[in-house]
Amino acid sequence: MIALVWLIPAFPLAAFLIAGLFGRRWLGHWTGVIASAAVGLSALLSIGVFLEVLGGKEQTVVPLYRWIGVGDFSVNVAALIDPLSAVMLLVVTVVSFLIFVYSNGYMADDEGFYRFFAWLSLFVFAMLILVMADNYLLMFVGWEGVGLCSYLLIGFWFERPEPYLAAKKAFVMNRIGDWGYTIGIITIFLVFNSMNFLDVFHRLDQSAPAQNVMTIICLALFFGATGKSAQLPLYSWLPDAMEGPTPVSALIHAATMVTSGVYLVARSMPLFVAAGSSLEVVGVVGAITAIFAATIALVQFDIKRVMAYSTVSQLGYMFLALGVGAPVAAIFHLATHAFFKALLFLGSGSVIHGLGGEQDMRKMGGLRRRMPVTFWTMLVAGGALAALPPLAGFWSKDEVVTAAFVNGHAVLYAIGIITALLTAFYVTRALWMTFYGEPRDQHLFDHAHESPTVMTLPLILLGVGTVALGIAIGFPPEQGFIHRFLGPVVEAAGVVEHAPELATILLLAAVSVAAGVVGIAIGVLMYVRHRPDPAAVARAAGPLYRLLVNKYYIDELYDHRIVEAARAIAGASWAFDIHIIDGLANRLGWALAMGGQGLRRLQTGIVGNYALTIMAGLLLMLVAYGGYAAGIFGR
């Protein structure tokens, strides 16, 4: 099965070509069926590959062809299949398949139906290249590919200004991150003379370069990761990316693309371990992002924006785990988060679909009677996000904070617990405002309806995953299946896993659950009992509340400090180009044209004139020669 691994990205690529070339004229609604089937086949193959890796094939390189060969430097288009990439393949294809099925219902009435599936298939292809690549350069191809598809899909409804502005913002911010990634891989090439993961890690073992070089490489790569994975300081594109269709938000901006930064750091773990202090940076940035985004999510009213800030926050948890030296916990949380956050987004999409496009939670309420399936599945996902046992989020988030505690990062642990409390609060708030209470907009409520089966079935399947995944691969804590499976990769990277004692695990789990329960309790008190009333709290908090509603004014800060400066530089460059560079070229051309106009008059077309000129020239030459020979002009 591993030998067939290149078929996994081939199916989505074929689906992209078919949907893009024939979707509009001939296939109509079959486009979605074909694309879903293609991704389904990829998912089946991924399961096969996963089982084979599980069966003992710990590391296989499947070359496709030689891409670049210069001297002793070569880059192959080759797949590296090990437990880490097998997990990623499985998560990406399975979640993609469910979201593809869902999209058949969600996008059914959109006239860009075929275009949507073409871009979405291209995205899956690029994402698979990203996780399969056996070198940094091929990974970069996938990295840029997912960025491009993200841009195309955020701006899917480009007739309105907000989506295309959001798409532009996402693309530019991703490009800023890509600059870091590029610096990272160029430095890796200069230091190790290779871009292949295995070669680089092997050479690192043999002769480690200077510490500061390693720090540059790791920080540059991590800067790239902050762009893709929406961490501080490059996070602000992700909330705006919610302008895209909801399945896109679920697939690209929650489950897969935004986790590629986590995957990059996990894949480069040997480099980060060798570069000591840069792991601290990763952990601190992750923790700050986690709590920062969670506080913003407390006060948002757009249901998708709450989920977007929640995603930023949960990605922060993953980087926190990486930073404290627990890549297994990070990948575990990545996998469970892919399921429950995709479910939350698809559930939000189902609500939005049922309400005919309304996203403001202040106009919802009481919807649980109208949309029972959506309600129950979102309740499960919300519980997982709030880390309630035995749902998936509990097991993975608990491992993240436990790792922070056990590895001696008390402050990061505290931030993780506080963030867990905030998370439980905002998810309670969001679910209550949407599904409970009295309908706040009777007209919308009357027209609300449950989504068709093609949309609810993926919700149910993701719900099953959300319930079962954590306990299936994460039990018993710290020694679950995921640890045994990813163990070889982590050990090879030089990470030492500290398995804490059972008493510690139970105590820490109790603290996490308590934080979640307290958060939910506060949410219920405020929104169900109105003690205290949310509006009163907002008034009392005054400036703090306004700070949160305005998202810490980060967008304004970027606009005033960076975007305007960039605009000014661009304007000056433009003026220089127009007036100096173009001016010079144009003046030169003008002078030559004028000279030509003058000389043109010499060519009269009258043969006699030409003959006379020839004769005159001949005479002049004779006189000059004769004069010279006679010595008139001196010797």
Binding site: L599, Q603, T604, G605, I606, G608, A611, M615
Partner: protein, 103 residues
């Protein structure tokens, strides 16, 4: 009795300037071609005269004359062809009338 070299040169110069004046003054394209021919033959005359005078030292003057014959034949062929095609285009052979190719 031998004719002095100066006499040959004088005749040659005379022929050359007659031809030259013809080229400059006449407007009939065929006549212009004939005048060019006259100039070429003036040059030929000078060449054979010098060749005969200094033949013991150098015979290349005579050889050059053969070249000029060939070139003159080629020149007439091309020139007449141009005149003919110009005439087909517009039924005039007055060179002052043919000035459509001016810049």
């Amino acid at each position: 009795m031998t004719v002095p070299l100066g006499a040959y040169i004088a005749v040659s110069a005379g022929l050359f300037f007659i031809g030259c004046a013809g080229v400059l003054v006449r407007r009939n394209a065929v006549v212009i071609l004939m005048c060019v021919e006259l100039m070429l033959n003036a040059a030929n005359l000078a060449l054979v005269a010098f060749s005969r005078r200094f033949g013991a030292v150098d015979q290349r003057g005579s050889v050059f004359v053969i070249f000029v014959f060939v070139i003159a034949a080629a020149e007439v062929a091309v020139g007449l062809a141009i005149v003919l095609s110009a005439y087909r285009n517009r039924p005039v052979i007055d060179v002052d009338e043919i000035h459509q190719m001016k810049g």
